[in-house]
């Protein structure tokens, strides 16, 4: 039973929680704390035959890849790189053993730049000479470099509000027992103060993560110290290590992808009946990603340009303010409209979304599509109770297998939409599909064409026999994409774009090679079982001698070459016609503009040039060809 249906007894703090659900942090600040103790520079593997890679190298590479992804995906997020257990020190607090890495006039915690990435990529060459490595916490020394590092990181993250910005400290180390070198009261005291430092930071809203690196022969023991530092208990400690390993892998191999902040597109009123009208928010979950905004630059100075637009009257040449009247030619007369009248014509509905009724899901055909769908999720921000109505409707639609047909009175394009209820899908702890409804934009009859019927004949169309369908079924079984998911396919054009951009920005000489994941799996297609299925299908549908016949037909076509003959005839005619004029002379006397488009085109055709464009374009093309 519902004890508090109206929410009357919920106090304010509950409501704040509700709001927190909605509020998303829109920015992220990260401080990478990298252990630079000599232990990090010893080869990570003991096997002689493998390449000797140090943990330090792994970390640098990981951060580098992560920066490269970040600069494309979330370039407004800020990042600082900070080493600890260093010989040199460089930090505002002047604490020993901590070195804040930075380049140029960038703030220590700032957006990543191309220079940062470029310089950081070669840091290993100069690390020992410029920054140096040493054991930080040693017996007899009063210094606690880990403590210092946390303090510096916390100071760096002081800017910005923790409410709107997610602040993280990420520690990379392969030392599971940083205080192993000391003993007694000094050790307990140091551990206590360090953990207190971490706790203070966490209380300020900073999250501390650890990415531990294990050696093959000895596992990183969380329980020695770090479990306490990051606040892990019980089973979490055991599970932490494998998860952290995965995270490290993810950081290195992330897809370059612009990450969008969750943001509602619009708030709509959804009229279900005349007296039940709820509030919903729309979100764009799927939209084609473009290579990013283009800034026009002056090619000489490389300075950005701004565009100025002006309206000029075609008849008088007078400069106009933005004209408010539009016109359309109709029956050879000019019909004028005011902008207001046009928007009134487009306004055909008084509600944003108006429910018309429900249909079974199979009424939504595959060709009922025009644009990417929009996601709908309820909101109680303005109208209390909206979510409840929505949840009830959602579950009714799911259970009864219906979609809702609604009219979406968007002033730019008012149209019918199908609202398809989406059940929440969670796999391995991640939400694959959020619960809500997808709004699918339906075409009108004017938008649907019937290309199938363009070439009809009075004979029956060829239909496959059962035998042929059987062979096709076999083919389908053989060429099956197991676990197909669109998430496995990156846009090759976009990845190439990002790659080129990165190479140019970082001044790399070689253009990156991007793997095109959308190409078919050639090796898979060449498997004998697949080849056999294809051959059988081909023999069944095309007949035994298809290849031979095709080859003959192609040969015959090449020799006869109807189309090419025709084309040649046209070119010949054009050359003849074109030869009648002395083009060079016409061009010199500026008489080209007096010639007709057909005459101009004869020259272009005769010389194999494109014949598209306006007359001026044709003339300029001829002039270019003549070399004038």
């Amino acid at each position: 039973m519902d004890l508090d249906p109206e929410g009357l007894f919920r106090d304010d703090s509950d409501e704040d929680d509700d709001n927190a659900q909605e509020r998303e942090k829109n920015k992220e600040m990260v401080v990478y704390l990298v252990d630079a103790s000599p232990k990090m520079f010893t080869p990570a593997t003991t096997k002689a035959d493998e390449e000797q890679e140090t943990h330090f190298h792994t970390i640098v590479n990981c951060i580098l890849q992560s920066l490269k992804t970040q600069i494309i995906g979330k370039s407004h997020d800020e990042v600082a790189i900070c080493f600890f257990n260093t010989k040199e020190k460089k930090n505002l607090q002047d604490l020993a053993g901590v070195y804040v890495y930075n380049v140029g006039d960038r703030e220590p915690l700032d957006r990543p730049t191309a220079r940062l990435i470029k310089d950081f990529s070669s840091i290993e060459d100069s690390f020992m000479s410029n920054i140096g490595s040493r054991y930080g916490i040693t017996a007899g020394s009063r210094e606690n470099t880990l403590y210092n590092a946390l303090w510096v990181a916390q100071a760096l993250l002081r800017k910005g509000s923790a409410k709107t910005i997610e602040k993280r400290i990420v520690i990379f180390t392969n030392e599971d027992d940083p205080f192993g070198a000391i003993k007694g009261a000094a050790k307990t005291d140091m551990i206590r103060t360090t953990i207190q430092r971490a706790k203070d930071a966490q209380d300020l809203g900073l999250s501390i993560e650890l990415l531990p690196l294990s050696r093959p022969d000895e596992e990183f023991k969380m329980s020695l110290f770090y479990a306490d530092l990051i606040g892990l208990e019980g089973d979490d400690i055991v599970e932490y290590l494998p998860v952290a390993g995965e995270r490290l892998g993810e950081m290195t191999n992330q897809l370059r992808k612009r990450l969008m902040k969750k943001r509602r597109v619009k708030t709509l009123s959804f009229a279900i009946t005349n007296d039940v009208c709820i509030e919903v928010n729309t979100y764009a979950l799927i939209r084609p990603t473009t290579p990013g905004t283009i800034t026009w630059l002056d090619s000489i100075s490389n300075l950005p340009l701004k565009t100025e637009r002006s309206f000029i009257c075609n008849d008088t040449g007078a400069l106009l303010q933005d004209p408010q009247k539009r016109f359309q030619m109709y029956n050879d007369t000019t019909v004028k409209f005011s902008v207001r009248e046009l928007s009134e014509v487009k306004r055909v509905s008084s509600h944003h979304l108006r429910l018309l009724g429900f249909k079974p899901l199979d009424c939504l055909k595959d060709y009922h599509n025009l644009r990417p769908s929009t996601f709908i999720y309820p909101s109680d921000e303005n109208i209390f109770g909206s979510t409840r109505v929505f949840v009830a409707l959602h579950s009714s639609m799911l259970r009864l297998g219906r979609f809702a047909l609604a009219f979406y009175g968007n002033p730019t394009r008012a149209q019918l939409v199908a609202l398809v209820a989406q059940e929440e899908v969670i796999s391995s702890g991640r939400q694959d599909e959020p619960p809500g409804m997808h709004m699918i934009y339906l075409p009108y009859s004017d938008d649907i064409r019937c290309p199938e019927e363009v070439h009809v004949t009075s004979d029956d169309a060829p239909r496959a026999t059962d035998e042929q369908i059987k062979k096709a079924s076999n083919l389908l079984k053989r060429i099956d994409l197991m676990d197909f998911s669109i998430c496995n396919f990156a846009n090759p054009a976009l990845q190439r774009h990002y790659g080129i951009l990165e190479a140019l920005a970082l001044g790399e000489d070689e253009m990156p090679d991007i793997k095109d994941e959308t190409l078919p799996d050639e090796a898979g297609m060449a498997r004998p079982a697949v080849v056999k299925a294809i051959e059988e299908f081909k023999a069944s549908v095309y007949g035994e001698n298809y290849d031979q016949e095709e080859a003959e037909a192609a040969a015959a076509k090449a020799s006869r070459g109807e189309a090419s003959k025709k084309r040649k005839a046209i070119t010949d005619a054009a050359s003849q016609k074109s030869a009648a004029y002395d083009w060079a002379e016409l061009a010199d006397n500026g008489k080209l503009k007096d010639m007709t488009v057909v005459e101009l085109k004869s020259y272009l055709t005769a010389h194999g040039l494109p014949v598209s464009g306006k007359k001026e374009a044709l003339i300029s093309r001829i002039l270019t060809h003549l070399g004038k």
């Binding site: 249909k359 109208i383 290309p451 998430c487 190439r496």
Partner: protein
């Protein structure tokens, strides 16, 4: 231009079975003409009506026969007259259906006479009810006649579109089945396309009002493997017909200048941010992309050298279960993969794969590069389209799928974890269950508002407004036509029918405005209409009534009482205000008072005409408002009071004009029979004598 020029003959059935939808037929044909006046100025249109009382056509004159077929508008280049001829369609009296073949012959004859054997696009468009038996031809069977006509059409390359209108729930007779068979015979002979529609709204969607020449997106091989290729042609299946982009108008030119274009040229200038006075020529610009805070300039030549250049071709990646491709991932307008025309093997290959996909519930994933030099690849899914018609080939639909980069992973709270105040109770759940079951738009066998037969209300309205404005430059935007309202709002008939369930929903849930948010702002944001309109839509559940009233009583300002100058107009204005139902009551009371006063103050019938108008207006309003008793009581009262006085002859006038009580036939709420209404004045006289 000339390539796309079309000659079209509209063959319209105006017989009794079509009377109910004649307005829609007019509208759709008008839209067709309006669009042609904008886009295809040199197209030719002729109009042939059948089922008319009269006969007027060339064949009848020359050969006799061909009765009840009227050429309302001879075929010629379209102009305003064509639209005019359509608006003046008269209802015919003769069941026109059995003239279908005659009309087709007349239309065919017109086309052949006019164009002979010249090439060009010719089309017949037939709209009929096809309910009555076809006349037997003088020789041979009807089937033979259809064949003869089809041969003629084929010879002259003439296509036909048939739109058959049958009201919902009509009983199919053997005659209708025979008619359908004959029409489908045209289709089987590949000269015609036949569609059946069952509502006025879908008539508006059934006719293609704009001609688009089909153009292939791609012609070539669908490569299953290097060894198996299927020849396909790819066409667009859906493509949005956009609202026309109107040009900006300049009124700078003097009105005397007849050759003025009134066009506005838009000029762009590029200026450096640093030196705002210096203009940079367009070809000196270079594109820059953001890399972090830095802008990386890339010249187009540089770009051209390194950019992604896929090879043209359509390649199959493999097949997968239908369930692994989500419907809401479809990204764009849809394409159709058709086997190369005339290539039987390609047709067979597609047919067998499509049917296998259908049986196994599989789809195919393909990668498409339509053109050489295209900068990206289309990645998408093929789904089977099994043809239900014998002479149409099986094909595939192609939908573009998103890439990994295009999917944004936003998390939303699962409904289960929402607070209990957002969870519906069992009772509420039942209310929505009932709503979903009751508001069914696709009961067995038919579907309302099928996208394929639903016109774009905005475009329909725009083109009719355009033609109206051409005649009256200061015309206001007309209200949305009743049929088009069926697209933007739920059908009041269904709503009324299901009223209990719908009201139940309203009762089950409580919705409140958030008091913390400013109300005015909320309503601003949530509705396009102002507060008054909102109140109206809540108070008047019957939208249709509203709409009639909106047409009858356009909204005006400053209403409130009935003045002497124009009482009927004032009364209508009061009704139109309708911001609350009390206005209706008030308007009626005022009107009654005013009319009574008029009659009482009448000297020698000087006010009769005005009083008559008032009574007529009141009567009309009472019928629409479903308040017949209001009027009946008023009329009875005033008659009783005044029948023996000076104005007794006024009632003779009323009787003469047939203005009597409102009967049951006119308004179901009335308790007056038609008989009672007719004899009202007589009876009262008899009783008084």
């Amino acid at each position: 231009m000339a390539r796309n020029k079309e000659a079209l003959i509209l063959l319209l059935d105006v017989g009794p079975s079509m009377h109910g939808v004649l307005q829609e037929v007019k509208n759709i044909c008008s839209t067709l003409v309006h669009k042609k006046l904008v886009y295809n100025r040199s197209d030719e249109v002729g109009i042939v009506l059948f089922g008319t009382k009269e006969t007027s056509n060339e064949l009848a004159k020359e050969l006799g026969g061909y009765k009840h077929v009227t050429v309302a508008h001879d075929i010629k280049v379209i102009d305003e007259e064509t639209a005019h001829a359509l608006q003046n369609l008269q209802c015919g009296t003769v069941p026109g259906d059995f003239k279908v073949l005659d009309a087709v012959v007349v239309g065919l004859d017109m086309l052949i006479r006019k164009f002979g054997d010249t090439k060009g696009r010719r089309r017949l468009c037939l709209i009929t009810g096809a309910q009555h038996p076809l006349r037997d031809p003088p020789e041979g069977t009807k089937e033979d006649q259809v064949d003869t006509i089809a041969d003629q059409m084929k010879k002259h390359d003439i296509k036909m579109e048939c739109i058959v209108f049958r009201e919902r729930g009509i009983h199919y007779s053997t005659v209708m089945e025979e008619n359908d068979r004959l029409l489908y015979q045209f289709r089987d002979r590949s000269v015609a396309k036949v569609v059946q529609v069952d509502s006025p709204t879908s008539i508006l969607g059934a006719l293609r009002t704009r001609n688009v020449l089909p153009v292939t997106v791609f012609r070539g091989d669908l490569e299953v493997s290097s060894n198996l290729k299927i020849k396909v042609w790819v066409y667009k299946k859906t493509s949005e017909e956009k609202f026309p982009t109107l040009k900006k108008y300049s009124d700078e030119a003097p009105p005397s200048d007849k050759s003025a274009t009134h066009e506005v040229k838009i000029d762009y200038e590029y200026k450096s941010v640093v030196e705002p006075d210096k203009v940079v020529p367009p070809d000196q610009r270079i594109k820059g992309y953001l890399y972090g805070p830095q802008v990386v300039p890339i010249s187009s030549a540089e770009w051209e050298a390194v950019k992604f250049k896929p090879e043209k071709g359509v390649k199959l990646l493999g097949f997968t279960d239908r369930s692994s491709v989500l419907r809401h991932h479809f990204m764009k307008d849809v394409c159709s993969f058709i086997p190369e025309p005339g290539n039987t093997r390609a047709a067979l290959a597609i047919s067998s794969i499509a049917r296998a996909m259908q049986q196994m519930n599989k789809v195919a994933i393909v990668r498409c590069v339509w053109k050489q030099g295209q900068g990206n690849v289309s990645f998408g899914v093929l789904t089977p389209n099994i043809s239900p018609v014998n002479n149409v080939v099986d094909s595939f639909y192609f939908n573009v799928l998103p890439f990994a980069e295009d999917i944004r992973e936003f998390n939303f709270w699962s409904f289960g974890s929402l607070p209990s105040s957002s969870q519906p109770t069992e009772e509420q759940q039942e209310a929505t269950d009932n709503l979903v079951k009751m508001l069914d738009l696709a009961p067995a066998g038919r579907e309302v508002l099928k996208p394929d037969f639903t016109p774009n209300p905005v475009l329909e309205r725009f083109y009719s407004y355009l033609s109206l404005k051409a005649k009256q430059p200061d015309a206001n935007v007309p209200p949305l036509d009743g049929c088009l309202r069926r697209i933007t709002e739920p059908d009041p008939k269904i709503i009324d029918h299901r009223a209990p369930f719908i009201q139940n929903l309203g009762k089950s849930f409580e919705l409140k405005d958030n008091p913390k948010k400013k109300k005015a702002r909320t309503q601003d944001r949530l509705a396009y209409t102002d507060a008054d309109d909102q109140a109206k839509s809540v108070q008047e559940p019957s939208v249709e009534k509203d709409e009639i009233l909106a047409v009858l009583y356009p909204q005006t300002e400053n209403v409130g009482e009935i003045g002497d100058l124009n009482p009927v107009k004032d009364f209508e204005a009061m009704l139109a205000k309708r911001s609350s139902s009390t206005w209706v009551q008030k308007a009626m009371e005022e009107m009654q008072k005013y009319t009574t006063a008029l009659l009482q103050n009448s000297r020698e019938g000087d006010n009769y005409q005005k009083a008559l108008e008032c009574i007529v207006a009141l009567r009309k309003a009472c019928i629409i408002e479903q308040e017949p008793n209001e009027f009946n009581q008023f009329l009875t009262k005033i008659y009783e009071r005044l029948k023996n006085g000076d104005v007794a002859d006024f009632f003779q006038l009323l009787s003469l004009k047939n203005i009597s009580l409102i009967s049951k036939e006119e308004a179901p709420d009335s308790d007056v029979t038609e008989e009672m209404a007719r004899t009202f004045y007589l009876k009262q006289e008899a009783a008084s004598q």
